[in-house]
């Protein structure tokens, strides 16, 4: 296949607007609606949960109970626009802007390390813009790495020169990922590093690179984490977090308090939950960071097992669609992009929900589409746009 397969298409002017919309090869027909609606539904549930978690937090909302809800919906709206934008550009054309995007996100995370950056909850990963807005550049690094690595790994294969990416390509792609990972590790934003690790692993796996690379990467991850631990690169609060997820008593006032309160909230929800806005743990603000990292505890308490499992199922639906898109992609580039997003969303969701359930260490990463937070929301929607683009195999503006 060559690049001109998806060159500009012309529509015949005779078609009506409606007819165009539902034409056999139109965007409406080709895009993955199940994925789209699952995403929107998740966003909708997320905004209810964010509202429930924040409407009483007068200390955060400055007296406006809709403060977070409005911003969350705005973020989702902007995210949706970015999603459509990504679909319009298309994942293939994105390759042309990736070097620029990659450089920008590297600059972003470097800026965080500079005095411009701010520390929130012990993680030095934000740039406060003002007006209540802040940017977390590491979210955009995820997209850069997926596209960048996919480009490097698939170029020769999609060109028909290689069956699988060779060592050289793999090395190049890993170097591409290593730079931001190291910078983020210095922030330190451990959660993002773990997500990036999962993305790199997913990308390598889907690229068909030699299994030695895959296992080698896993081995490096293990050795690396032991080294990080031993060399004292981790701060005290991070060690506490790691230890306290299993035993909240180790850090009862800090992260142990967080996890045990989140667990109480979720456990007390039972089968059907206490009803939206009726959770005592949520209303009483017993779970810190409940609108962001611990948003799942609102679902657990107020919507019960049924609601919480429904959210997990929605995420499952998105991942299933993404896996299908990866399988059905017409080129390796599309497969890798989709698989990278699968690894990203899967690990990030598992880590986020797992930490509220007490089976994963606490790291400050949001639940995709549900947690409050602009950067994360934007990046997630761009990823969905990329998935849709892979599904359609051509930009929609074409």
């Amino acid at each position: 296949m060559s690049a001109n397969t998806y060159s500009v298409r012309r529509f015949t002017p005779e078609r009506s607007a409606l007819g165009k919309l539902f034409a056999r090869d139109s965007v409406v027909r080709r895009m993955d609606w199940l994925l789209f609606f699952a995403t929107l539904l998740l966003c909708f549930i997320g905004s209810l949960l964010v509202y429930s978690a924040t409407r009483n937090r007068t200390g955060l909302t400055h007296g406006d109970q809709y403060y977070f809800l409005i911003r969350h919906v705005m973020n989702a709206g902007i995210g949706l626009a970015l999603c459509i934008g990504a679909m319009a550009i298309g994942h293939h054309r994105m390759r042309t802007i990736v070097p620029f995007f990659y450089a920008l996100s590297i600059l972003g995370i470097l800026a965080v390390l500079s005095p411009l950056g701010s520390t929130v909850n012990g993680a030095h990963s934000w740039i406060i813009i003002g007006g209540g807005f802040s940017v977390q550049p590491s979210e955009f690094v995820k997209i850069s790495i997926i596209i960048g690595m996919a480009m490097v790994l698939s170029a020769r294969v999609d060109a028909g020169d290689q069956v699988h990416p060779d060592h050289r390509r793999v090395t190049q792609s890993l170097a591409l990922a290593a730079l931001p990972v190291v910078i983020i590790l210095l922030m330190p934003d451990l959660g993002s590093v773990m997500v990036l690790g999962a993305i790199v692993l997913g990308v390598l796996l889907a690229s068909g690179a030699s299994s030695r690379w895959v296992f080698g990467l896993i081995g490096t991850g293990i050795v690396g984490s032991i080294l990080v631990w031993q060399l004292g690169i981790l701060d005290k609060y991070q060690i506490d977090r790691f230890a306290a997820f299993a035993n909240p008593a180790l850090d009862p006032s800090g992260v142990g308090y967080n996890t045990s309160q989140a667990r109480i909230a979720i456990g007390s929800g039972g089968l059907l939950g206490k009803g939206l806005f009726h959770g005592s743990q949520t209303t009483g603000q017993f779970v810190p960071e409940q609108q962001t990292d611990f948003v799942f505890s609102v679902a657990g308490e107020e919507l019960g097992f049924v609601g919480a499992a429904f959210i997990v199922a929605l995420i499952g639906l998105i991942l299933w669609r993404a896996c299908t898109i990866a399988r059905n992609a017409t080129d390796l580039y599309g497969t890798i992009v989709a698989a990278g997003v699968v690894a990203w969303f899967a690990f990030q969701s598992f880590e986020n929900i797992g930490m509220t359930l007490g089976i994963m260490p606490v790291t400050g990463i949001p639940l995709p589409f549900v947690s409050y937070g602009g950067s994360s929301m934007f990046a997630n929607f761009v990823a969905i746009g990329m998935l849709q683009s892979v599904k359609m195999q051509r930009p929609m503006s074409a």
Binding site: M1, N56, V157, D158, G160, V163, H164, G202, L205, A206, S207, G208, R263, I264, A265, I266, G267, S268, G269, G270, L271, S280, Q281, T283, G284, Q285, F286, G300, E301, G304, F305, A308, A309, V312, I315, G316, L319, W320, C323, A326, R327, N328, A329, T330, D331, L332, Y333, G334, T335, A339, V342, A343, A346, F347, S349, F350, G354, L357, G358, I359
Partner: protein, 747 residues
């Protein structure tokens, strides 16, 4: 390239994608499983945790039930006081943490600001009292002695006193109807300890940290019934403890009322007469010690013969039970537990032990008849009795010649009982016994001595029957000390009594000697009894031989007066005597009044209409003046009075006991005219008092009592809140040497 399919995937990539998909979905399944584990399997546990997280309780204390006398007159009640309380939650919401409000409050109440602030701080390991031991959500009482004017000042200027309330609150009071004090019978309340709160957590009515519990007397025994159940209002609070909603409201259930057999009028007379007798004794010259009697303590029991119910129970020295209300001050507590005050908390009627003296002779008479000695004898009442070189004298060396057992009781002839007891001791094998019958000891046990009577107030002591087993145990326990003392002092020229006893007891102190045996028969020696044990024995003599378990409570009555749970008298034994023996002893004890040791105090007593039976006793105590005992009974009542260091039985208590009977039966001054209408209790009160719908006892006399009770309130002392928990006083037992010497008669 043929090996690159149109989808852009090789089979390796396909397999890899399947692996990725399996990995992803196993992660999601893990989440689902963990969700099920937390929410379904352990959901209830977390629900309970969430509730304890956000639910806080405010407790409305239950009004404690009243303790009523046999006619429904309250002897422990609640009075309404103006209690000023502060809400910590409200105070803490003020910008200065409530300091300004508390300072203003202190000015209104006339207290020091620091004292007020100390009261509202929370107790912890490092905070000295006063401090608040209850829930921080509970209004904390600052004073229960606010005047109406102070309360108005606070409530009318609400804006100046946010978080402060002044409300009428029920506070325990002991109204002392007719000035009946009954302090040791009623007992007292004091704050619960953390341990008690923890121990009660699993019970149906757990204690709250702000609770008071009964520590002695009826308040302790019937604490569960009287306490009621506190009302609980639950509030939802947020993570900072701010109230965000009301979750539930259970109103308080008042405690049950307790009807007792105590008759406040008889109680008052008994207390008054005991006091009068002790005061009289203190003006009486003791020819033995050549000074007036000290009369340091005393007790009197009035018992209903037919039921064993206590009509009155007095113990001296006594105290005002209202001292405990609102927390006793350290000073008051020290005064109550000080040796100088001679331990007024002790109820001498059940905790005071002494040798019974000649009142024990009813037991000896019964034992002698059971052992086969005839009633008529005759037995020689000589002035003294010799065993070897030891001489045992009759009181004042009197002699009555050959007499019957009955006459020996009437005139309290010691030598008759010496003789019989010595004879029986020899029959039992003397110092080398073979299967001894020990009639005198067996009979004492059969009369219920040496064991608790089981009266329904705590702290009762057993007394002691110094039988062979006790001798042996006592020797085992003390032989090392005795032998050491004996060895140390073996060359003393004039050994002290303690040394002499040690030398004597070291080698064979376990042997029941002839001297022990004869002393024992007249109620001297190592025998110890309590007044309530003696009252029970004489009541049994009066009712045909039934030993009752003495009770003070008659019924538990629900606050609305509808549910009545009677506490039935319980017969627990029979005197071992035949009917004819009982009749014989009865007649002899009547003779004590008409022509025996008590006749001089009962001149003009209407013996025909109200036959009275009595036995006097004068127990000698080594190193102390003699203990006076006077045990009496009529058809219906038994009255036992004893005064430590009070002289002879009839001399010390004869008149006092007579006055009590006269008041009860309505016997007029000349002794011959009886007006039951003027008697305060001519017949035992068997019916329970009636209750009106609101649970108040309806009684004709009540109005009069309430007025007389009000002046008792006026000086009701109340210490600071939350006095230290008070350990129960152990009954005062004599020290070891004293134990041995107590009541022993060596002449």
């Amino acid at each position: 390239m043929s090996n690159i399919p149109e989808t852009g995937r090789t089979s390796r990539v396909t397999i890899r994608l399947v692996i990725l998909q399996v990995l992803v979905f196993s992660l999601l399944l893990t989440l689902g499983g963990r969700l099920w584990y937390l929410q379904i399997r352990n959901g209830q546990e977390y629900d309970a945790k969430a509730n304890s997280n956000h639910i806080q309780q405010v407790v409305t204390p239950a009004v404690r039930g009243s303790i009523l006398d046999d006619r429904g007159v309250p002897i422990a009640d609640n009075e309404t006081l103006l209690v000023v309380s502060a809400s910590r939650t409200d105070l803490l919401q003020q910008s200065d943490g409530g300091t300004a409000v508390l300072t203003r409050l202190a000015a209104v109440l006339g207290m020091k600001p620091q004292d007020v602030m100390d009261k509202v701080r929370l107790c912890d390991a490092h905070t000295p009292r006063p401090c608040w031991n209850g829930s921080p959500y509970q209004p904390i009482p600052i004073t229960d002695k606010a005047t109406t004017q102070q309360a108005l000042q606070i409530m009318e200027r609400r804006e100046d006193f946010p978080g402060i309330t002044a409300e009428p609150t029920a506070v325990r009071t002991y109204p002392s109807p007719d000035k009946a004090n009954a302090a040791q019978v009623l007992g007292y309340l004091s704050p619960v300890t953390d341990k008690e709160v923890a121990a009660s957590e699993k019970t149906s009515n757990p204690l709250l940290r702000s609770d008071q519990v009964g520590r002695s007397g009826l308040e302790a025994t019937y604490d569960d019934e009287l306490r009621g159940k506190a009302g609980v209002t639950t509030y939802q609070v947020d993570n900072l403890g701010r109230v965000i909603g009301k979750a539930g409201d259970t109103p308080a259930t008042p405690g049950d009322n307790l009807v007792t057999s105590i008759d406040s009028k008889v109680q008052a007379v008994t207390e008054k007469e005991l006091d009068a007798a002790m005061k009289a004794a203190r003006t009486t010259y003791d020819p033995v010690t050549h000074e007036n009697f000290k009369a340091d303590s005393g007790a009197a029991v009035v018992m209903d013969n037919h039921t064993g119910q206590i009509v009155a129970m007095a113990s001296e020295p006594t105290y005002d039970p209202n001292e405990w209300v609102g927390g006793i001050s350290a000073k008051d507590y020290k005064a109550l537990t000080d040796a100088k005050s001679n331990y007024p908390l002790l109820n001498r009627a059940i905790q005071g032990e002494s040798a019974p003296g000649s009142t024990f002779k009813v037991v000896s008479t019964s034992a002698a008849i059971r052992a086969g000695y005839t009633e008529d004898g005759p037995y020689d009442c000589s002035s003294s009795f010799n065993i070897g070189s030891q001489v045992f004298h009759n009181d004042e060396n009197e002699s009555y010649g050959p007499i019957s057992l009955a006459r020996a009781l009437e005139v309290s002839c010691d030598t008759v009982f010496y003789g019989i007891s010595y004879d029986q001791w020899k029959k039992d094998g003397g110092t080398d016994p073979k299967h001894p019958k020990d009639w005198f000891y067996t009979t004492a046990h059969d009369f219920g001595l040496g064991a608790k009577t089981g009266i329904d107030i705590p702290g009762e002591v057993t007394g002691r029957v110094p039988d062979r087993q006790w001798k042996k145990d006592f020797w085992e326990e003390n032989k090392d000390d005795w032998c050491a003392t004996a060895k140390k002092h073996k060359n003393d020229k004039n050994p002290s009594l303690a040394v002499a006893i040690a030398i004597e007891n070291c080698p064979d102190g376990y042997v029941l000697r002839a001297g022990d045996s004869v002393n024992y028969a007249i109620g001297q020696g190592d025998t110890l009894v309590t007044p309530v044990q003696m009252a029970r024995i004489y009541a049994a003599l009066g009712n045909g031989g039934t030993l009752y378990q003495p009770t003070i409570a008659k019924a538990v009555i629900s606050p609305d007066g509808k549910t009545v749970t009677p506490i039935k008298p319980k017969a627990v034994g029979k005197l071992p005597d035949s009917k004819s023996t009982l009749k014989y002893i009865n007649q002899a004890l009547a003779g004590v009044v008409t022509e025996g040791t008590a006749d001089w105090k009962f001149q003009g007593w209407p013996q025909d209409t109200i036959p009275l039976h009595a036995k006097t006793g004068t127990a000698e105590v080594s190193g102390k003046q003699s203990t006076s005992w006077f045990d009496t009974y009529t058809k219906d009542y038994t009255i036992v009075m004893t005064i430590s260091q009070g002289g002879t039985g009839s001399g010390g208590s004869g008149e006092a006991v007579r006055r009590i009977y006269e008041a009860m039966y309505g016997i007029q001054k000349d002794g011959q005219k009886i007006d039951p209408k003027k008697g305060i209790m001519p017949k035992p009160v068997t019916a329970l008092p009636k209750f009106s719908a609101d649970g108040a006892a309806v009684s004709a006399q009540q109005a009069a009592f309430v007025t007389s009770a009000t002046d008792q309130f006026a000086n009701s002392p109340a210490g600071p809140q939350g006095g230290a928990p008070v350990p129960e006083l152990a009954a005062l037992t004599p020290t070891r040497t004293e134990k041995l010497l107590y009541g022993r008669k060596y002449t």
